[in-house]
């Protein structure tokens, strides 16, 4: 079997690890901000450059990983080999992981640079960058791993780094609690992933992602095995517990729920905002939380044969999207708004996975990484300029003081709202269209209830536009409310927060912070142009600029996520196309690679509709909040539907009570301590009996010795006489 190998691949993964180690050992001694910042950023820059080289094929012997069908592999070491089981420390970059690695390293680099400005003056500067580099190492391991087990190592690694970084401000109670919560919720998801890996191995006998040859041994990938040896499962509820592909799919999705903050495991992500803002941007918006989407798309061969699992994913994705958006409407903390927005956008991505639009899901992951990283870094810049004030009720009119932050955040705002040419429009529109047209693409035929999911999707889109407009208006427009006293302002949770001086003026952030913002703003503006759907690129006027086949993104990813029934449709179409080549040539626009005129018309109509709804949402938000930025919103939304309270009441408190009453007071104090203390007490009471013998009188002892001697001698005499006769 022919394989492309490139040893540079391991450098992508290990460069950040080296950076982390240097920062931990040397940086900890030096305590020099410039040193720590440069080491960390250079480590990620190395990864980034090599990632782009391998993905696009600059300066390497083979073609770029994004354009060839076989993955680029790098076998670092054989990790374990037991009987028929084999797990390698092997890396592989194919079209999917290539896209992921490129945007992770690039966005990661920008955030590292931003963080050198944001974290200026912090005591644990080197520690922060060591953790951040360690996170990059774990994340890249997750993405580049060539089997499920190594991927799980990265999966756990990012969970650990997320824990460390959420709890970075260790002196804050809120941060410690949030870190613990994130870790526990992730562990629940990890159970699902592990179970799925076990089940995958027992079903297929392999855990590899790619077909490859190692040490002369031919290894089949899980997906090849599944596609060629197993058949699609029916869409029944029984299949969920059937122990087949559907079960694997559901278990993997449980893991994805934990990592990507979907219902019911989403409550950790908003709390995770207790970490430093660059962390929120890197881990909790752009990269780690999209690992769940990666897992699902990576396993798309399994999901295509497990329609039940896909429906579950779509329903949970759509529910999460609308649910989180509704909470986002009423939050006052600028980072909380963005956090719920992230949960909601992740819901969109899973909706896309569920309806079989894997390309759209990854496309949205990428554009979301751009605009959400931008928005988070922008909010970080605002918080920095406001001296660690995060409450939007105390902001207002910041565009006067922070023009660059303002201008860049506007592009993020338009991108997430779905205004055309901005990146979010193309990806979100693609997801909504594919949801509406799910029946056509769904592997198991008709998709049940996709129209409902579509309605949920567009309502969420409107809500997204409203809450983002609210956030922008409260922060950047209106009157300055820097000294406003709030009713619920008792005991501010931020320990570093001091009352602002009376003549306080916010300031624009330094260049190390604004330059990453500008780069991300550019990406949020034009980043979506790599994936213009055919229906839009074929519009008159647009076509002359971008060309007809402007959906480069789909062309790159297509071979990885080829849908079963789409492949069939394409092949018949090609057959027809070759027969009627003259006809096809005369009317190329109407029949181009599976794009029927009706579908194109429908897609154009839906795109226009979603633009209209986005504009409507922005206008509604503007009217509602421009004049009254502090407008009271439904209390239940502000209190996040009291989900945390429900979880506490139903799960945490009963568990605590069980632990306290039964396990601690009952079992530990009663049983375990009972054994230990009982042993001691038994010895004491036996001793109490025996001590009477020890009278302390020498003569008594002598008498006892005498009696003993007489008894012994008597015994010998008695039996001695018997022996003699």
């Amino acid at each position: 079997m022919e394989m492309t190998e490139n040893n540079l691949l391991s450098l992508i993964v290990f460069a950040p690890l080296v950076g982390a180690v240097i920062n931990w050992i040397v940086g900890g001694k030096l305590k020099n901000e410039l040193f720590s910042g440069v080491v960390a950023s250079v480590a990620v820059a190395v990864s980034c450059v090599i990632a782009f080289m391998i993905a696009f094929g600059f300066g390497i012997a083979h073609e770029g990983a994004l354009f060839i069908d076989k993955p680029v592999l790098d076998h670092v070491a054989t990790w374990m080999q037991v009987g028929g089981f084999r797990a390698d420390f092997g890396l592989g970059m194919d079209r999917l992981s290539g896209i992921y690695v490129c945007f992770i390293t690039f966005v990661g680099l920008l955030i590292h640079i931003f963080a050198t400005g944001y974290m200026h003056g912090d005591k644990g500067f080197y520690r922060f960058f060591a953790y951040l580099n360690l996170f990059m190492f774990s994340m890249l391991t997750l993405i580049l791993a060539d089997n499920y087990l190594l991927m799980f190592v990265g999966w756990e690694g990012v969970g650990l780094c997320s824990y460390l970084l959420i709890g970075y401000f260790i002196q804050k109670d809120e941060a410690r609690k949030a870190a613990k919560k994130a870790f526990v919720m992730n562990r629940i998801g990890d159970w699902g992933v592990l179970m799925a890996i076990f089940l995958t191995y027992s079903l297929t006998g392999t855990i590899s992602f790619f077909d490859k040859v190692v040490d002369g041994e031919k290894i089949t990938s899980v997906f090849t095995y599944v596609t060629s040896n197993l058949s699609a499962e029916p869409m029944t509820a029984a299949a969920i517990l059937g122990g087949g592909l559907t079960t694997i799919g559901v278990l993997l999705f449980i893991g994805a729920c934990g990592k990507s903050a979907q219902i019911p495991l989403f409550t950790w992500l908003p709390d995770a905002m207790a970490g430093p803002t660059p962390v929120s941007a890197l881990i909790h918006a752009a990269t780690m939380v999209t690992a769940g989407v990666y897992l699902v798309v990576r396993s798309n061969s399994i999901y295509q044969m497990a329609p039940t699992a896909m429906v579950i994913i779509a329903v949970i994705g759509a529910s999460t999207a609308i649910f989180a958006a509704s909470i986002g409407l009423a939050q006052n903390d600028i980072k909380k708004v963005l956090a719920y927005s992230t949960v909601s956008q992740l819901g969109y991505m899973f909706l896309a996975c569920g309806v079989g639009a894997f390309v759209a899901a990854i496309f949205h992951v990428m554009t979301h990484a751009f605009f959400k990283a931008l928005l988070f870094l922008g909010s970080g810049s605002v918080i920095h300029g406001m001296h660690h004030e995060q409450d939007m009720r105390k902001m207002g009119n910041l565009r006067k003081y922070m023009p660059i932050t303002f201008a860049t955040m506007v592009t993020g705002w338009l991108a997430i709202s779905g205004i055309p040419i901005f990146a979010g429009f193309f990806s979100k529109d693609e997801i909504l269209y594919r949801t509406f047209a799910a029946d056509k693409y769904f592997p198991a035929g008709e998709f049940p209830g996709n129209e409902i999911l579509w309605v949920v999707g567009i309502i969420t889109a409107v809500m997204t536009a409203i809450y983002m407009t609210r956030m922008m208006v409260m922060t950047f427009w209106g009157e300055e409310r820097f000294h406003t006293k709030l009713d619920d302002d008792h005991g501010h949770h931020n320990d570093e927060h001091h009352p602002l001086p009376a003549d306080f003026k916010p300031h624009e952030s330094p260049a190390v912070m604004t330059i990453p913002l500008i780069v991300l703003a550019v990406l949020s503006t034009i980043g979506g142009l790599v994936g213009i759907p055919y229906a839009l690129s074929s519009l008159p006027g647009v076509e002359s600029i971008v060309g007809k086949d402007a959906n480069h993104f789909e062309q790159v990813l297509e071979p990885i996520v080829k849908l079963k029934n789409e492949a069939a449709a394409d092949s018949t179409e090609h057959a027809i196309g070759s027969e009627h080549s003259a006809v096809a040539e005369s009317a190329p626009e109407e029949n181009h690679g599976g794009h029927s005129p009706e579908a194109i018309a429908k897609e154009r109509f839906l795109a226009a509709l979603s633009v209209g709804l986005a504009a409507f949402g922005i206008i509604v938000g503007w009217i509602l909040f421009r004049k009254k930025p502090l407008r009271k919103l439904p209390r239940i939304l502000e209190e996040k539907w009291r989900i945390d309270e429900i979880y506490n009441g139903l799960i945490v408190d009963p568990l605590t009570r069980l632990s306290r009453q039964s396990l601690w007071k009952g079992f530990d104090l009663g049983f375990i301590d009972g054994i230990v203390n009982g042993a001691g007490e038994a010895v004491v009471s036996i001793g109490g009996v025996v001590r009477r013998i020890q009278g302390g009188f020498v003569r008594a002892y002598a008498a006892v010795i005498l009696i003993g001697a007489v008894v012994v001698i008597g015994y010998f005499i008695y039996y001695g006489l018997k022996l003699i006769g």
Binding site: Q694, G695, G696, F697, V698, R699, A702, A703, L706
Partner: protein, 101 residues
């Protein structure tokens, strides 16, 4: 004159019994000490008697050992009794039970 082994052993047993009973009943440390000596000498007597009876000198050698041990014991024991007397102005062994509780 051939004397009877049994007579010697009987005398030895009687002396030993007197010594043993004395150790148990006497409260005076000096008295106890003397009773212990009596028991040792009773044993010596039986050893010598057996030695003579069997014509084997080992028993008599053994008696030398016992006598030297008894001499050492007398030195140590009397030392203890004198030290005890200095502390308590008494030689009653029941006064020596101060380690009890």
């Amino acid at each position: 004159m051939e004397s009877n082994l049994a007579n010697y052993l009987a005398l030895s047993g009687v002396l030993f019994a007197i010594g043993a009973v004395g150790v148990i009943y006497k409260r005076n440390a000096i008295g106890m000490f003397m009773c212990i000596e009596l028991m040792l000498n009773a044993v010596n007597l039986s050893l010598v008697a057996f030695s003579r009876h069997y014509g084997d000198v080992t028993g008599q050698l053994f008696v030398f050992m016992v006598m030297s041990v008894a001499a050492a014991e007398a030195a140590v024991g009397l030392g203890i009794i004198i030290a005890f007397f200095r502390n308590k102005v008494s030689v009653d062994v029941d006064d020596a039970s101060i380690l009890k509780n």
